[in-house]
Symmetry: D3
Subunit: 177 residues, 6 copies
């Protein structure tokens, strides 16, 4: 099966924050932003897998900086790692200041999608080949997050997760210093 | 400051899945469900803190079982742990079969909220006192999740997270077996 | 056929008033509140009848006190009387002040629903057995409202409505005083 | 103060039933129709009173015949009686068959609105002078409905409602036959 | 085939500008108004052709005067010319001042619709017979707009558009003066 | 004042057609697409002018090919010509077939926007310098469309529109052949 790069699945979505999207203090409502993230991530996963993709889990979303009514929001999503039938997608959210021509990063998120066929059965997806240093780092962190999730849900032990085990040893070493 | 129990902040939200809420295969759209979760969790955090609460992060959402058009959805949210100005809220989602009078659990999620005053400044929130065994377990896991998040973001080392360190040692022991 | 109590069908719905739900003076828009009432009442009727329920009529809604943007709204619905294939549902609407932990009652409403099967044919529903004094009063008023509606639509005469006739006699007596 | 006819306040609203407006069996969702009724009635009351009008109560709505996806809906509202600061508005709902050029009446409703000034204080509204026989009948029924509502809420006795008392006597006579 | 007048297809739609419909400066959002225009025009074309109509093109919309939150908007649409299977519809938009009982014209637009049967195949539509002077003028301008569009898309030459050619000669004459 | 190229204002918007966006035959509803066009075009104009932009007119939209439920829609907007305080934006709409990795062009549109400052007063915008042959062609057509609009509205004569006059002469020559 074909191997792809994260950049092959980059999907960009632009929106204007309208009154309809705002919460009671005039900022972009978190529920609305999550809806946009979900669609943008699903399109990125679909671009990677050439199949319809459904959301399997949200691994993390951070709401670091509020986005205001009337601002332009850009979401950029790309697949950072693929695991047999699932893909982890990294989504970055920027708010744009039109006057100054500047952008500030406001949030990021990790969503996992599963590719399905016409009968709603899961299908295999291409693997990811990271090239740049940043892609490599996201690729490795993705595996650690996955192993941690399975470990905390008691579906695996550390024996099945050598990469996470190595990371834990490293954390322990560092904390001794 | 007052200490509260998780049960003090239980918030229940009931919805009917209308065509407007469905995705293209006729199930409840993930983005819509996240919107409902966000509101239900915010109301629970508000009930705990007696203040307006804004979403700080989504720690995890799992979309285990699809919910269908026409089904009744019940969300139940409660604060499982409080950390100075933030609260972790656990949200469970059930779909109900009216004919049979049965409910199935479809999803769960962990959201973190921050309490703010009229000037949008963070305020201290009451601590949580878990009583039941389940409450105690959610209480302990909440701290581990928080320490892991800070550790992976390189904001702390394991030295600052003795509970997580102990858990890691236990995981390592178990995997030796 | 089984007999049920009003409390068996209690259905609670919680919502946050978002900008999207407000009218031009910043209060919860009446049309939106009616939509929420309709869904909450239908779920209560479904819980009573174990069948899908469709709205047959709105008997009365009073909009006594406005609800403001950012407030938490709780709707509580329960079946007060059943008539062969139809049910009258009483819906109360509360707005909550999070800071003070108080609730004020803002509106109430009476909706009538009909239970239908898969072929959209009406089906019989369980009778209601009121227990508390308040349940008993709502139960009796429900019959009077129904008889009045049929009488004013010229579908019955007072001969078919002995309870209403007795009530009229009482009203006449009282007014003589 | 000026006296007006019901026809002076006739307000017509036309809508197409889109997927967004449908319930799970493909008919116009009751909550949506109530929203349209509320707006159409408020515009009619505003036309009569030359002021902004807010909904005071829904006196009755009957959902006699379902309206289907893709049909054209026409709402016609007019003020049938005015009482000092409030107005009762009668709203008729028609569904149109474009191919045949026919219309069928599907629902009707009675809403009460109150006129308010810039400071949200109630203001006096013009009286209604019914001319046609149908207008006269709606005019008289409107008073009876109002007296009944006040009587059932124990805000008046029959002494304050001579028209309703006369009607009751007539109902009693008729039922003797 | 039957010949009809523009007045046979007049369709009126009334709406209240709610917060949900406003842009960030508190005026009716252009995208929302276009949505209303599209529905109102499609209903007018359906009334003319006795068939479902789909939008083929928007020929022109001018946004001359903003409409404010809380204002009543009335759209009036009528077919001004029919061309075999398509119709050009003229849509006028008015905002109403309830207090003063005045209306101001805010926008107008020309939309073209095509009538389709159950199999989504285009069907012939009745011709238009303009009667009043205004109807006659709209009728003639409609043909010129159509010929110009085809000419600019290089689908015809001026040889196929004698009316447009005559108009061009007139424009040239006028500009000589 | 700065001169810019059309490519400086390219704005891309990606959307998934959800049930909420569909008309009664399951295709993307025209009113919804116009709403997306309006936002995408406004963002492109804002990028060109570094100011908030409001819609002045829609010059043309063609709905050539329907877009289906579940398809991914991409809108691409860029400023093709600037006139003192207004800009004409060309918007192309593509539907994407994920499985095949192909895109088909479905619609295009021309919108005119005006740049405004904080006080809602129009402000001057940078001129456009077309470079490629396609950009040059769009640049010239934009002027002709503007002159035609003013001429048909009787706001100018051909004397004020030498480019349009020359084009008319050319059309007349061609049609003689």
């Amino acid at each position: 099966m074909e191997i792809k790069r994260p950049s092959d699945s980059i999907t960009t979505m632009t929106n204007l924050v309208m009154p309809n999207d705002a919460n009671i203090v005039g900022n972009l409502f978190g529920g609305k932003l999550m809806e946009w993230m979900d669609i943008c991530g699903a399109l990125s996963a679909a671009r990677h897998s050439k199949n319809v993709c459904v959301t399997a889990s949200v691994n993390n979303i951070s709401f670091a900086k509020p986005i205001h009514l009337g601002e332009t929001v850009t979401l950029v999503a790309r697949v950072v790692r693929a695991f047999n039938t699932s893909m982890e997608v990294y989504i970055e959210v920027y708010a744009e200041n039109i006057k100054k021509g500047t952008k500030r990063k406001c949030n990021d998120a990790y969503f996992t999608y599963v590719a399905v066929d016409e009968n709603y059965q899961t299908v295999k997806v291409p693997a990811i080949q990271p090239l740049s240093e940043e892609e490599q780092e996201l690729f490795e962190l993705s595996l650690l997050r996955r192993q941690l999730k399975l470990l905390m849900a008691e579906k695996i032990t550390l024996k099945d997760a050598p990469e996470l085990r190595a990371q834990m040893v490293e954390w322990m070493e560092t904390s001794k210093g």
